[in-house]
């Protein structure tokens, strides 16, 4: 079990990295009127066959050989379902995979979202060859981070240069705080 949802996002997004994705889109949408938090992770990686897809939320299914259990997707699904929310995963070979987890925001069993900034920073900085779009929304307030846009500004300068990493960290922190308006989700 993960201690915060942002760790589930980091873990599940690693699957997209391994699927050879060129673009990974992550969104967190909090709607207080609807009492929901929706987390989506979409990639354009290699996708999964119907057979694999049917087994992906089975903890005792994995494609890896170093151990015989695969808990990542199962954990994320469980985290959503135990709030009374839902979980959906769709995939097409050669096209990509979409993961959608819906949480009941006010549920006592909903884990805190946690440090999404660290998750996005880790993904972006250590996978500089992959483009990421991250969207964060709380009711009407939202922001987005697009590595393609950042790469355009940077010209050839690397995304993982210390100065740029510092900027990304501040960008995520400041803009998240602004959307949160003093609340912690």
């Amino acid at each position: 079990m993960m201690t915060e949802l942002s760790l589930n996002v980091l873990d599940v997004a690693q699957n997209s990295v391994k699927a050879g994705a060129g673009l990974i889109e992550i969104s967190v949408v909090i709607d207080t009127a609807e009492d929901s938090m929706v987390i989506e992770i979409d990639d354009d990686g290699c996708g999964m066959s119907g057979e694999q897809l049917a087994k992906v939320t089975d903890p005792f299914y994995t494609t890896r050989e170093t151990r015989s259990v695969g808990l990542g997707v199962s954990f994320f699904k469980q985290a959503a379902e135990m709030t009374g929310g839902g979980f959906e995963i769709t995939s097409e070979v050669g096209k990509g995979t979409k993961v959608k987890a819906v949480f009941v925001l006010s549920s006592i069993d909903r884990l805190p979202l946690g440090d999404m900034g660290s998750t996005v920073e880790t993904l972006v900085v250590y996978n500089a060859g992959i483009d990421f779009i991250y969207r964060y929304r709380v009711d009407e307030a939202e922001f987005a981070l697009s590595t393609a846009e950042m790469k355009e500004v940077l010209g050839g300068a690397p995304l993982n240069a210390p100065e740029v990493v510092g900027y990304i960290r501040e960008f995520l922190e400041e803009n998240t705080n602004e959307c949160n308006k003093g609340k912690i989700y």
Binding site: Q14, K18, T66, G72, D115, T122, F143, Y167, E174
Partner: protein, 124 residues
């Protein structure tokens, strides 16, 4: 809101700086970032290593991530390889231990034996 305009300023400041090529980074720090690693707290460990390597200007050190190596009960696991030396596997890491490992092992070449997998009593 913070915008891309600030990134433009950073880029201009960075221009003219010489970057080391990746193959000059002969010391490798590898952090396990599979489900087991992440659940055990690998994210702050990875972040601590990369921040400390930058803060101490250790230009020959690369910090990367890897998947599960099958020793899930010892996560977060960090492997350090220095040229000409045997790989050192640190287990049950946290950000505090990461700081000690950077200061002693990476900066002074002293292996923190108490934190390695050999200290766990497990056969090599």
């Amino acid at each position: 809101m913070k915008t891309l305009a600030e990134l433009q300023a950073i880029k201009e400041k960075m221009q003219g700086q010489v970057n080391l090529r990746d193959d000059d980074k002969s010391v490798r720090v590898v952090v396990g970032m599979a489900t087991c690693g992440i659940a055990a707290g690998a994210r702050p460990v990875l972040q601590a290593f990369s921040d400390l390597v930058q803060a101490n200007n250790l230009k020959d050190v690369s910090v990367t991530q890897t998947g599960c190596i099958g020793l899930c009960q010892y996560e977060p696991i960090v492997e350090i390889t220095r040229p000409g030396e045997e790989k050192v596997t640190y287990i049950n890491m946290d950000a505090g231990k990461a700081k000690e490992v950077v200061e002693r092992h990476l900066m002074r070449g002293v292996v923190m034996a108490d934190y390695t997998i050999n200290s766990s009593g497990m056969a090599k």
